[in-house]
């Protein structure tokens, strides 16, 4: 199972804008490389990343082969209540991974 690293503060004050950092293990094979014998190395990338907070989408991204291996994506979110961030990566060859992180809002 591929590893993911998520950085979400454990606590925040109501209305805070927090930074979320995500790092997902993936080769991001572009589909533009060739082996020494000339065969195309088939594309194998993550195509979509979604972050939801308590079920509601807060951030989403479409990724292309120009995103570096082991995609690192950081963004922001306003928190108004305690709850759970859920992250989902979807890609070629049936790739589908999830992770989550909880935050307490005071």
């Amino acid at each position: 199972m591929p590893s993911a690293l998520i950085n979400v503060p454990k606590k925040a004050k109501r209305g805070d804008v927090i930074e979320i950092k995500t790092l997902m293990s993936h080769i991001m094979e572009t589909g533009y490389r060739h082996t020494a014998s000339g065969d195309v190395v088939p594309r194998d990338i993550i195509t979509s990343f979604t972050c939801r907070f308590n079920g509601i989408e807060v951030f989403r991204a479409d990724l292309y082969p120009a995103i570096a291996a082991n995609p690192f994506i950081t963004f922001f979110a306003t928190v108004t209540e305690s709850g759970k961030f859920e992250f989902e990566w979807i890609g070629d060859k049936g790739f589908s991974e999830t992770a989550s992180a909880s935050i307490t809002v005071e």
Partner: protein, 257 residues
């Protein structure tokens, strides 16, 4: 054009006499030659892609393997305690073999002897991950390889390889990394070649890689035939480099361009 430039520069270097070893106060990690952006990637664990491999290694540490059905943790329990400082002493002398083994070699010996499992292939994700997890437990610990007197002849062999000219460019490691580390080759700084952060994440590789991989790429770069993975020459070079970096803190998993 790039090759022509390299050859011009390297020919200039080839004229210089070999200098002595870099003194302790002059030793500089490859980190200090990097841009602020690349340093930032290493500085924060959640931004360092090498940490993904460390996480994989942590999972492997606890996973039972082989016909002995034992995990690393079954003998060594908590790596954060048992493996602290260990990587700073590798390559280490292995009495049963009468020669030094590097950390990758030690892990594979453990697999064959104690787990009765097949060794991991060099540069496999598993071997890199487990090595990175073990080495990360020594992060910040000063490198102290080569203390064992049994290692002395092997350190000397590694040193001999380091200063021996070879390949079509007729260059020794020392020509760049002892004599010209404050200069540039094409656009890139020539570093001292201090192996402080292996296995490390190279932006070029877009993956974690071992010191042996780096040495093989260097040797190919001077147009010499690279030694095979696991060969005594590569382990001796690793050993010499680690003694040459004595006192420098372990950075695993480092990030390099």
């Amino acid at each position: 054009m790039r090759i022509a430039l390299c050859i011009a520069l390297l020919t200039a270097m080839a004229g210089a006499a070999l200098a002595t070893e870099i003194s302790l106060d002059q030793r500089r990690s490859g980190y200090s030659f990097m841009s602020a952006d690349t340093k930032a990637m290493q500085d924060e664990d959640t931004a360092n892609p090498g940490m993904l491999f460390v996480l994989d290694g942590e999972a492997l540490w606890k996973r039972k393997a082989g016909s002995a059905d034992k995990a690393c943790a079954d003998c060594h329990s908590d790596a954060r305690v048992s493996m602290k400082g260990v990587a700073a002493h590798y390559p280490a002398f292995e009495k049963t073999l009468g020669k030094p083994v590097d950390l990758e070699g030690r892990i594979n010996l453990c697999r064959s002897n104690h787990q009765q499992a097949s060794p991991f292939a060099y540069e496999s994700r598993e071997l890199l991950a487990l090595t990175a997890y073990v080495a990360q437990q020594s992060r910040g610990v000063p490198i102290a390889a080569g203390d064992d007197p049994d290692l002395a002849p092997f350190v000397e062999k590694g040193h001999a390889l380091f200063v021996q000219r070879q390949g079509q460019l007729n260059l020794a490691c020392a020509n760049c990394h002892d004599d010209n580390w404050d200069k540039k080759l094409a656009g890139s700084p020539i570093t001292q070649g201090q192996p402080t952060g292996y296995p490390l994440y190279r932006l070029e590789w877009q993956a974690l890689g071992s010191l042996q991989r780096r040495l093989r790429a260097c040797i190919t770069g001077i147009r010499a035939q690279a030694y095979d993975y696991g060969s005594p020459e590569l382990v001796e070079l690793e050993l010499y480099l680690m003694t040459r970096a004595r006192g420098m803190p372990v950075e695993t998993p480092a990030v390099r361009p």
